[in-house]
Amino acid sequence: MTAHAPDAREARLAALRRRYLDTVLENVQRLHSDLRGRSGGDGHDNAFRLAVHSLKGSGGAYGFPEITQRAAVVEQDLLDGRDVTTLVHGLDELLASIQGAQRGLPVEVTS
């Protein structure tokens, strides 16, 4: 059993959420550049699909439902066999959500 004061707990939660956003931002940026580098095709590959599915599952758990919703749209586009342009657009929206969530987090105070 581990006990934390509410403030400490909130700070830990905020740190976790910040870390999550940093990680997913990096991941989505990488997906985005990979996808833009493709000359054709429909963006279908397992790694891409899994990454998007994982984002869909984790966003809400960290308290960012919009990330889940945006990732769900990209996943659906993938399932529908949409073209790369559509997928890139979906990732743009996803990146915007992540960056918006980052801006909404309280500023980390370091001493």
């Binding site: 059993m1 581990t2 006990a3 934390h4 509410p6 707990r9 830990r12 939660l13 976790l16 959420r17 870390r19 999550y20 599915h53 869909k56 599952g57 984790s58 966003g59 809400g60 758990a61 960290y62 308290g63 960012f64 439902p65 919009e66 889940t68 919703q69 769900a72 066999g81």
Partner: protein, 529 residues
């Protein structure tokens, strides 16, 4: 099949465009090739004819080449116009019917047997649709037939119950007389008996007693659905103590310990005498099938329910027999208990009574190690208030991501919560069986969480566990009146959208438990399976 059709139609779409483009390209190339060939032919003939080079433009045949080229260019333009028309026609005649068929097959796959599968077409697609429609009609008729048979069987079952009840009632009176006469004879009141006569009378008396027990149980089983029940607060601890006192002699004869661990404030809503019957049946049954060790009764409390566990260290019940334990006339076929008397109706009566008292009963058992019956009953209102500050709620959070587990740990903070975690479906099964949590949160990203709920509900205390499912497909609306406890567990699960987070889960659990207090201290935690 719907997915295959979707794939098929997408492929056709791509092919139509491809064929159109290729046709266009081929037409253009053919036009140029034909014009060039003709021009070359004319040039070479004219050169050979005069023995000197003559300009093709000067020859009358070159007009033919120009005309051919013009014709070909015209043909190309015509093709340019025709190809989109061809593509649209193909879309209307092939793609649209395929998409319609796909929608209809998808509806069929989801159980819609009422809507006909119709595609107005004489081609292969039309024939495919007709074949699917035939399958739908056959399925529909089979279901209708099953439904009618089921109805008929239910009626027959009811008639059989009524006949059995009537016959039992008719049998009881003469059996009582026989029992009385046997006692008169055995007591020597009708004259002295030889040793053989006494022995025979003892056997007759024993069998008459067995018959009377059977008839009484049959009557009870028939009556249990019809007798009106009271619903008043019942002090469970007092009632259980009385039942245990009554059973002490039997337990002592077998050297068994009878333990009771139920708080004295525990009160449920129910009919005291019917509950006495339930408890007596369960405890006497436990004693009957236990040779060594103990029989113990304990209680677990949730916000609105009391779970009573009747646990023994007896012979146990094999897993393949467990689903039949509550069936009429079911008896464990074990050499160790062959001498025990019983009709196999006791647990049937218990289950019917508990169900009528708005409760549920389940069991878990391991051969050679014992059996636990769990009876879940509604908690009396004042009991709910009195126990509100004491009861704790155990929550199992299932999510594969350790960091998400941490977020849940930091969010589901309440001094009444005990948290534990699982990372996979097998972990959920393991922990639910070991810990029997009050709430299971499933955030495994599994497309079929209901299956996991069913597996858990079959093994754990299905009445007590509440499931919160994040994501997953919505439940279909059919079979709303199911009484199967496993299906009830699935249907009563709280369902949250995929974007729901720990705060939404907290709100659901608090609403369910009737908690309104703000989060206080973090819950105690256990490791992940």
């Amino acid at each position: 099949m719907a997915r295959s059709l979707s794939f098929f139609s997408r492929r056709i779409s791509v092919r139509v465009i491809g064929i159109a483009a290729l046709t266009l390209l081929a037409t253009g190339m053919a036009a140029n090739l034909a014009a060039l060939t003709l021009e070359n032919l004319v040039t070479s003939e004219s050169s050979l004819a005069g023995g000197q080079l003559v300009s093709p433009a000067a020859l009358p045949q070159s007009d033919l080449a120009v005309q051919v080229r013009r014709q070909m260019v015209l043909a190309l333009f015509v093709m340019l116009l025709l190809v989109p028309i061809l593509a649209l026609t193909l879309r209307a005649t092939v793609l649209a019917p395929l998409q319609r068929l796909r929608r209809q097959v998808r509806a069929l796959a989801h159980g819609d047997l009422e809507s006909a599968v119709t595609v107005e077409s004489d081609d292969e697609i039309g024939r495919l649709a007709a074949a699917v429609e035939q399958v739908r009609v056959n399925l529909h008729e089979s279901f209708e037939d099953l439904f009618r048979q089921n109805e008929r069987l239910s009626q027959l079952d009811q008639m059989k119950d009524e006949m059995l009840g009537q016959a039992s009632h008719e049998l009881r009176t003469p059996l009582t007389s026989i029992h009385g006469f046997v006692q008169v004879l055995a007591g020597g009141k009708a004259g002295p008996l030889t040793e053989l006569q006494e022995e025979v009378l003892t056997m007759v008396g024993r069998n008459v007693d067995r018959l009377r027990t059977l008839v009484c149980d049959l009557l009870d089983a028939e009556r249990v659905d019809k007798t009106p029940l009271n619903s008043t607060p019942v002090a469970v601890e007092d009632l259980l103590q009385e039942v245990i006192d009554d059973q002490q002699v039997s337990a002592r004869e077998k050297g068994l310990a009878l333990n009771l661990a139920v708080p004295d404030h525990t009160r449920v809503m129910g009919d005291k005498e019917r509950l006495r019957e339930v408890f007596t049946n369960l405890i006497s049954n436990a004693i009957k099938y236990t040779d060594y060790g103990r029989v113990s009764v304990r209680s677990l409390h949730t916000h609105d329910r009391i779970v009573l566990e009747f646990q023994d260290t007896g012979i146990g019940i094999a897993s393949h027999l467990q689903p039949h334990v509550f069936d009429r006339f079911f008896r464990v076929d074990d050499q160790r208990v062959q001498g025990e008397e019983g009709t196999g109706l006791g647990l049937t009566i218990v289950k019917r009574l508990v169900t009528r008292l708005n409760g549920m009963i389940s069991l878990s058992s391991e051969p050679g190690r014992g059996t636990t019956f769990r009876v879940t009953l509604p908690r009396a209102a004042d009991e709910q208030t009195a126990g509100a500050t004491a009861a704790r709620t155990s929550i199992l959070v299932a999510t594969p991501d350790p960091l998400v587990q941490t977020v849940y740990g930091a969010t589901l903070t309440h001094d009444r919560f005990d948290l534990s975690y699982a990372s996979s479906p097998s972990g959920v099964l393991l922990r639910t069986r070991r810990e029997r949590p009050d709430v299971v949160v499933l955030a495994l990203g599994n497309a079929r969480p209901d299956e996991l709920v069913r597996r858990v509900a079959r093994g754990a205390d299905m009445a007590r566990v509440h499931f919160v499912i994040i994501g997953g497909r919505p439940l279909r609306d059919d079979d709303d009146d199911t009484t199967d406890p496993v299906e009830l567990a699935v249907r009563s699960a709280s369902r949250l959208p995929v974007e729901a987070g720990p705060r939404d889960v907290l709100a659901v659990i608090e609403a369910r438990l009737g908690l309104s207090a703000a989060p206080a201290t973090p819950a105690s935690t256990k490791g992940a399976a």
